[in-house]
Subunit: 281 residues, 2 copies
Amino acid sequence: MQCIERIADLRRAVKAARREGRKIGLVPTMGALHCGHAALIAQAAKDGCFTIVSIFVNPAQFAPNEDLDRYPRTLKRDLQVAAEVGADLVFAPAAAEIYPAGFNTWVEVEGSLANCLCGASRPGHFRGVATVVLKLFNMTDPDQAYFGEKDYQQLQVIRRFAQDLDLPLKILSVPIVREADGLAMSSRNKYLSPEERSVAPWLYKALRAAAEAAASGEEDIQAIRRYALDRIASQPALQLEYLEIADGDSLQLLHELRPGAVMLVAARLGNTRLIDNIRLI
Amino acid sequence: MQCIERIADLRRAVKAARREGRKIGLVPTMGALHCGHAALIAQAAKDGCFTIVSIFVNPAQFAPNEDLDRYPRTLKRDLQVAAEVGADLVFAPAAAEIYPAGFNTWVEVEGSLANCLCGASRPGHFRGVATVVLKLFNMTDPDQAYFGEKDYQQLQVIRRFAQDLDLPLKILSVPIVREADGLAMSSRNKYLSPEERSVAPWLYKALRAAAEAAASGEEDIQAIRRYALDRIASQPALQLEYLEIADGDSLQLLHELRPGAVMLVAARLGNTRLIDNIRLI
């Protein structure tokens, strides 16, 4: 497996793979790879792609008060993980390679899709995501790109701009990978103290309670929300940021349950921000 | 020469040309083709490209008070012109093909480059330009794209986002084509009454006077500007919007003359807005 730091070298590697008739699969990550990332990489490899994993902690998607500096950076281990599950190439550029002096162009997804939920509490976050992901697309020219469903709103924002900007590629998603106790895998789980770690699975317990209520025939949105809210309220350490039921494509909040409805939650646990989601019906 | 209205057909035509080993050249236009456009198309053809001319009056780059509705639309004649000078394909989509329902993604070039000069008087204009040009790039995947130097700031904005977004293509520019009396060719020249048409060349006369002063050794920016301003002031019908001397790449206003300096001007003549520019040294 190659590890490359420069865009010019990346382009050369992509060209070489194309010459061999390979299709290109891209898995954009911020590193600190866990089993969720591994599932994305393995899926790309299984799909027969020349599988490129980008590892870049993107400053543009962090607000000044966020965790850019302490975000876990574990490149050496990441390279092992990526190789083990079938990556052909890791692209791990420095920030100056991605945002050289004079950089001044941004991709903005407007409307509620990018401005509700996480977009409301993290202004500029999805602009940073969209910009770096478009840049990675343009560097690697992938046939398909893989994203995890844990970052559900991010996935929909990326689908939106890929469609709006006529990008000739497929956006593929892979289901959330969870710990045995239900906690969605996340690089930020490393921040949790043992005590917080024991509370964290309640986020998924809350989502499950709501999904089970919906599966049992409960149709009232507020009643379904209450199942989840009650579980979260039972854990005082969980500070709820939002818990909403939205259309799975547009993320418009729903007033009536309908197919494609997704429940999305964000909460703080100490200094750590956790998100999760579940399809209701 | 093919004329195509749908993105899917355009992609097929590009693929077919690629299979034949052709490189792709794109000339984005808003139609009402004149000799300036013809020079761009002819250059692409001369460069050996499979030459695609897009004709799309882009609503996103017009403000509500601007001339979107009356902008000249002369498709039938445009097709003749494009064919005569060597285009292989004209792409003339409807607005709904480019901006379907739900469209919500924009490319923003920030900083003074896009916000000075025309950007200051036409807020949102370059955002509309950058967005549609990026879309056209993604639809046609060109090796090179051709832009006229009359829209000098537009050219620099496009160079900026093409670099910032890592687009794997060359941005090529072609010098301004002028009428015999010096007026820069523009689709908007059609708006001019015979009286206005006789005044319009004074814009270029003003730029020439400044350039000649610089060529004769005048180094004082304000003195050079005055040569041009005096010529414009001699024609009361010309309402000056701006006349500046700027660095040709960054468009930062210059306080001292230096290589690469460009003088840029915008003025109204009746209801018509005219722009022009000249390299000083």
